[in-house]
């Protein structure tokens, strides 16, 4: 993909550290893209994606909350706004990002501050995805700069909008390969009064996923459903008004009593720590090896994980999300065989990443459509080239 790229400017050859462009406005960003002579490595907070070829183009200079309307449950922010700033503003109105974005820093040994643009560009969702939806479900509107350096808007800042094609979804999860986000507007939700976690002692992925499915299929609004085989513990989270949380915890304990011994973590702070650890894949933090992230049909998770021969596993989304820690260089797509879903290589040495690719290759007709879209949005192929196909 890098063939035919113009030679780098002399100063960037002299400095060991890569030069980084940090435009301070959307107009500057347009100029930077228009004037680019080769591949660009698009960067939000730099906590998720490293090692991309090309000149670094950071949106950190586009920062700040543009509009916050708590009564309408919406916020608009420039793409480079740090997540921490967003969360602080939301907390002051007792609201939050309900899709609970994961913090990748510890797992990937990255530094920096996650940005709101990066979160949406990578469609980063945490355990609550199983109840409320993914980051992409909360993204209401975008402004982005395409490969020709044009600023484009799509969507808006209202919750229901079917005016024209939904390019908002297309930008979410495109990892900067179709355009550089400059501004995002998104839906936020009230922060619940309290939360609690039910922890069941279970033996094996089969019974764990069965328990999680039963809980998610019950009318008690479970907002997290995970399983940590190392602890032999299946976790269910319940959030809401205090009485309601107590009521639903009681109902779920009774419903699932046969599945295993249960203990209730009703201290909200302790409960929150459990889910932050699952969200951020904390158990794999200091372990050596590659980390894979697999999305699958929950009921297939037990058999699929048995085939993976992983050193460690974590289950989220009721079994629909599997984190696998495996020896360096192993190909989980080959080992996983046939199932409904796909595997993403989240942490690996550069050579493994080059060999296997971060994202699972798409079937030919889909790959053709994606290539067609890339050719339209980024005709010069300069945005994170090769990352997604």
């Amino acid at each position: 993909m890098t063939g035919g790229v113009a030679p780098r400017a002399p100063q960037s050859i002299l400095t060991k550290k890569k030069m980084m462009m940090t435009p301070q406005s959307e107009a500057d960003l347009c100029d930077a893209v228009r004037q680019a002579e080769g591949p660009l490595a698009i960067r939000g907070g730099g906590t998720r994606l490293t090692g991309q070829a090309g000149e670094l183009l950071s949106v950190a200079g586009l920062s700040g909350i543009t509009l916050y309307d708590p009564g309408a449950l919406t916020m608009v922010a420039q793409a480079g706004t740090p997540l921490a700033e967003i969360e602080a503003a939301l907390a002051s109105e007792n609201q939050r990002l309900a899709f609970e974005p994961m913090d990748h820093r510890a797992l990937l040994s990255t530094v920096g501050a996650p940005s709101i643009g990066g979160i949406f560009a990578a469609n980063i969702s945490g355990p609550r995805r199983v109840q409320v939806g993914a980051a992409r479900d909360f993204l209401l509107g975008v402004r982005y700069v395409d490969g020709m350096g044009q600023a484009i808007k799509n969507g808006g800042r209202v919750m229901k909008n079917v005016t024209g094609y939904d390019l908002v979804k297309l930008m979410a999860g495109s990892w900067g390969t179709l355009g550089v986000l400059s501004e995002v507007s998104f839906k936020v939700l009230p922060r619940p009064e309290t939360e609690a976690t039910l922890r069941f002692a279970v033996d094996g992925a089969g019974s764990a996923v069965q328990l999680l499915s039963a809980a998610l299929g019950a009318p008690y609004e479970v907002s997290g459903a995970g399983y940590d085989p190392a602890q032999g513990a299946a976790l269910l989270r319940i959030e809401g008004f205090a009485d309601s949380v107590a009521y639903r915890a009681g109902k779920l304990s009774t419903l699932l009593a046969a599945a295993g011994a249960v203990d209730l973590v009703d201290d909200p702070a302790k409960s929150a720590l459990l889910w932050a650890a699952l969200r951020d894949v904390a158990p794999f933090r200091d372990a050596l090896g590659d980390v894979w992230r697999i999305s699958c049909k929950p009921s297939q998770a037990p058999e699929l994980t048995a085939r993976l021969e992983a050193e460690a596993l974590l289950f989220d989304w009721g079994g629909g999300l599997i984190w696998a820690l495996v020896p360096e260089g192993c190909d989980m797509r080959a080992r996983g065989g046939a199932y409904d879903g796909h595997a993403t290589l989240m942490r690996a040495a550069p050579e493994t990443r080059a060999r296997l690719g971060m994202f699972q290759p798409q079937p030919a007709p889909l790959a053709a459509i994606e290539a067609g879209l890339r050719a339209k949005f980024d005709p010069r192929g300069i945005f994170n080239p090769g990352l997604m196909g």
């Binding site: 309307d69 009564g71 309408a72 449950l73 109105e93 007792n94 469609n123 199983v130 939806g133 484009i152 808007k153 799509n154 808006g156 800042r157 209202v158 919750m159 229901k160 909008n161 079917v162 005016t163 024209g164 094609y165 939904d166 390019l167 979804k169 297309l170 979410a172 999860g173 495109s174 939700l189 009230p190 619940p192 009064e193 069965q210 299929g217 009318p219 008004f241 009485d243 309601s244 009521y247 999305s295 049909k297 009921s299 629909g320 409904d340 879903g341 796909h342 994202f359 699972q360 798409q362 079937p363 007709p365 889909l366 459509i369 994606e370 067609g372 879209l373 339209k376 949005f377 997604m388």
Partner: protein
């Protein structure tokens, strides 16, 4: 309204097309008699009509693929059709087009409660999806008003919403996978029973693309367990502004009702005359529904009543049981029918930030006087999706045009305050020519390139969504008045 002039070459190829299609479809699925194709001349936007050249009613993905491949080879435009309930003219044919109806494809292919999904053919109606799983106490959440009749195919094409979106989202938030047939006949699978399809979010682009990127023949939908119970509360206010402020305060307080519906005085009066729901005669009425177990419902309602009390409602009525709940909903559910009894009406669908509700309602009232047409407002207040109903007389020359001009002004206002032209009905032909109020040419061009990729010959659902002058070079067809 302008529509492209029918392509004489295409019309001349009708016999050959019929011959080719009859090789892949049974006789019952191929309609070429002008007396019968007339049944497809319009959808629920009845102001515009045009019979198609042919209509086909395939019964499988394979037949859809065969039909599209043949039409592609023959250069014939295809207009996909679900149940024909579009209020935006999303299924309006052109005279040289083939209507592709999915009505015969209505099977449930798989129900899977462990994974909380159902897979259906897309001709199945919205309500019958819930019907297929309610024995197990599950339901499919998006619930457009037309849910008894509307098809999942149309729901996906228009990204339909409903009254309960505030909590459960719209179609795109409940759609997990599709089988899509491209215009050249290629069949592709997007997403499925797993969350977050791999690669680019093509599923997200297909949903809401108004049948212009492909024909969706099968869909994997998220199903949810029904809540233990639900109850509405009704409250009336002397001023719309106060009702709007009440909605905003409830949301800010951290209560997330499953629905917040709003009706203004003209709508309340029409509804009362029609359905006798016993609504108070007041300026603005809210119906707020919460879900959960009995104690949970009681707790949420007590919080809502406490907030409402600060806004001095003229009436606050609770439902003690399902019967009373039904009566509270009766008027709201009859509102469109009630307005239709009085007059012809045009139903708009602009969405605005909830905080702009009072100002927008006031402006609509002023405009109603300026244009000399009455308007009633009934809408989903929780998400800002307005449904102003402009009353006009279709038999009075010029009234429709005034109504359309009035509607356009309301939609411009929605965009000005930070909203959009359409929240859940789609652009279709109805709002096609207003798109430049919301988007610049460069924004539209980005959308057009997506169509270029999926349907390079621009044959699928022609003359919808985008202003004709913007798509002229791509369509390369002459124009004529419809």
């Amino acid at each position: 309204m302008q529509m492209p002039l029918p392509d004489a070459g295409v019309l001349a190829r009708k016999d050959r097309l019929v011959a080719r299609l009859s090789q892949v479809l049974p006789p019952v699925a191929l309609i070429d008699d002008p007396a019968e194709t007339r049944a497809y001349e319009c959808d629920a936007l009845t102001a515009y009509r045009c019979a198609p050249m042919l209509a086909v009613l395939p019964s499988s993905t394979q037949e859809v693929s065969d039909v599209l491949r043949i039409c592609h080879e023959e250069g014939v435009p295809v207009v996909p059709r679900g149940s024909g309930t579009s209020l935006a003219g999303g299924a309006l044919p052109t005279a040289d087009s083939v209507i592709l109806g999915v009505a015969r494809m209505n099977a449930v292919l798989e129900t899977d409660y462990d994974n909380r999904i159902i897979r259906v053919q897309t001709g199945r109606t919205n309500l019958s999806v819930t019907g297929a799983v309610e024995e197990e106490s599950f339901f499919y959440a998006p619930d457009p008003s037309s849910q008894l009749a509307c098809a999942i195919a149309g729901n996906i094409a228009m990204n339909s919403g409903g009254a309960h979106c505030l909590k459960y989202g719209v179609t795109t938030n409940n759609l997990m996978g599709v089988t899509l047939v491209q215009m050249d006949g290629t069949v592709i699978e997007l997403g499925g029973a797993h969350l977050d399809a791999g690669g680019l979010d093509l599923l997200g682009v297909i949903c809401g693309s108004e049948g212009q990127l492909g024909v969706v023949t099968e869909a994997t939908l998220r199903i949810l367990r029904k809540p233990e119970g639900a109850l509405p509360v009704l409250m009336g206010f002397d001023e719309s502004e106060v009702a709007g402020a009440c909605v905003s305060d409830i949301i800010k307080a951290g209560v997330l009702p499953v629905a917040i519906e709003f009706m203004d005085r003209p709508c309340i009066r029409a509804t009362e005359a029609f359905a006798h729901a016993g609504y108070p005669d007041c300026e603005a009425l809210l119906i707020i529904e919460v879900e959960g177990s009995d104690p949970e419902i009681a707790h949420q309602l007590s919080l809502i009543k406490e907030i409402a009390a600060r806004h001095h409602p003229v009436e606050l009525r609770e439902a003690a049981d399902e019967d009373e709940a039904g009566r509270i909903w009766l008027g709201r559910k009859s509102a469109f029918g009630a307005m239709g009894q009085i007059n012809d009406y045009m139903c708009l669908d602009g969405t605005i930030p909830v905080s702009s509700l009072p100002m927008v309602l006031r402006r609509i009232g002023e405009m109603s006087k300026e244009f000399g047409l009455d308007v009633g407002n009934v809408f989903h207040a929780g998400d800002g999706n307005m449904h102003p109903l402009i009353l006009f007389d279709a038999n009075k020359p010029g009234d429709l045009e005034i109504c359309e001009a009035f509607g356009a002004e309301i939609l411009k206002l929605c965009v000005e305050v930070g909203g959009c032209l359409t929240g859940e009905h789609g652009v279709g032909v109805e709002k096609r020519d207003l798109m430049l109020f919301q988007y610049d040419l460069v924004d539209l061009e980005a959308q057009l390139t997506v169509k270029d990729v999926f349907d390079p010959a621009w044959l699928l659902n022609p003359a919808k969504v985008f202003p004709l002058e913007v798509t002229e070079t791509r369509r390369a067809r002459p124009m004529a008045a419809a």
